[in-house]
């Protein structure tokens, strides 16, 4: 393995870790509030309440 100094690793952790964290949050928020997903989520909400107790064939 290449020699990586402690400072480099910590720097990577601090900068990229933060960047990654922000990017991920934004990504999740976009997905969640994307208008076209509204219908899917509305449908998903009701899956649980489905009364029919057998698989679709």
């Amino acid at each position: 393995m290449m020699e990586i100094s402690h400072e480099t690793l910590v720097a990577i952790a601090k900068s990229w870790g933060l960047f990654y964290f922000i990017a991920m949050s934004i990504g999740v928020l976009i997905y969640t509030f994307w208008p076209r997903n509204r219908k899917r989520f509305a449908r998903a909400k009701l899956i649980v309440l489905d009364k029919e107790d057998r698989p679709c064939s």
């Binding site: 990586i4 402690h6 690793l9 076209r36």
Partner: protein, 250 residues
């Protein structure tokens, strides 16, 4: 982005990979640097490895779940340093596979218990804790005195530890079982080799008070008596310096 997520979901495998990717970052960031830095573990010249007898004792300590009630990690807090002694350094558990820092103190911390009490005290206390400390909640371990110690596979134990990085020499491996006997029989022929291999400061005594028999009690007491004694490093920091650092950390 939503399209990507939709595809991820469609193929459940992709979704699984996303979970792994998202979740593993934290662990990598926290743990990976610990393996590359030198500062994590101080360099200490006098740090020695466990003798076979102490190692067997350590395994008994683990087997009986002692770590569930006793920690071996003095934190950098003033009251802990005053109660138990100099705070624990990373180097002290350098050869501990696994570490036994513990997470609960139903009983006191044991990181510096080595040499604090006599062998007789330990034997009496382990056999019947309430005979020594009436308020104690500790279980009695009377059977340790009855059980003979298993020594025949100690060499294999040392080899396994060598594979994970503990510097046992060929000589130590070869003589593991002999050394276990030797350390508990100060007058026997096998005692000499122990000091030769592990240093003159090694405790060589009939730990359980009965030189005629090598028991699990011998091993456990030998281990307890070496706790905090494998290196001098924590004591070399001046007591004052220890306290100052502890205060700062607070």
């Amino acid at each position: 982005m939503p399209e990507i997520h939709r595809k991820l979901e469609r193929t459940a495998i992709g979704f699984a990979l996303a979970i792994i990717a998202v979740s593993s970052i934290g662990g990598l960031v926290e743990i990976a640097p610990l393996f590359t830095i030198d500062e994590t573990v101080e360099k200490v010249e006098d740090m020695r490895v466990y003798t076979p007898l102490e190692l067997a004792g350590r395994n008994i300590y683990m087997r009986e779940g002692c770590y569930a009630c006793h920690s071996q990690m003095i934190r950098t807090l003033r009251d802990e340093v005053e109660r138990y002694g100099p705070y624990s350094l990373a180097v002290e558990s350098q050869y501990d596979h696994p570490m036994l820092w513990g997470s609960k103190r139903t009983g006191p911390d044991l990181a510096r218990v080595g040499g604090k009490y006599s062998d007789e005290w330990h034997v009496a206390h382990l056999a019947d804790p309430r005979a020594v400390v009436p308020e104690s909640k500790m279980p009695a371990y009377a059977w340790l005195q009855r059980n003979a110690l298993r020594t025949h596979d100690l060499s294999a134990h040392l080899v396994a530890l060598r594979r994970v990085g503990v510097p046992y020499s060929d000589e130590m491996v070869e003589n593991a079982a002999r050394d276990a006997f030797g350390q508990a029989f100060p007058d026997g022929a096998m005692a000499e080799g122990v000091a030769e291999r592990y240093g003159d400061d090694t405790n060589i005594r009939a730990f359980d008070g009965d030189p005629g028999r090598l028991t699990e009690m011998d091993a456990l007491v030998a281990y307890l008596q070496i706790l905090g004694q494998l290196t001098d490093a924590p004591h070399q920091k001046e007591a004052g310096e220890q306290l100052v650092q502890a205060e700062e950390a607070e």
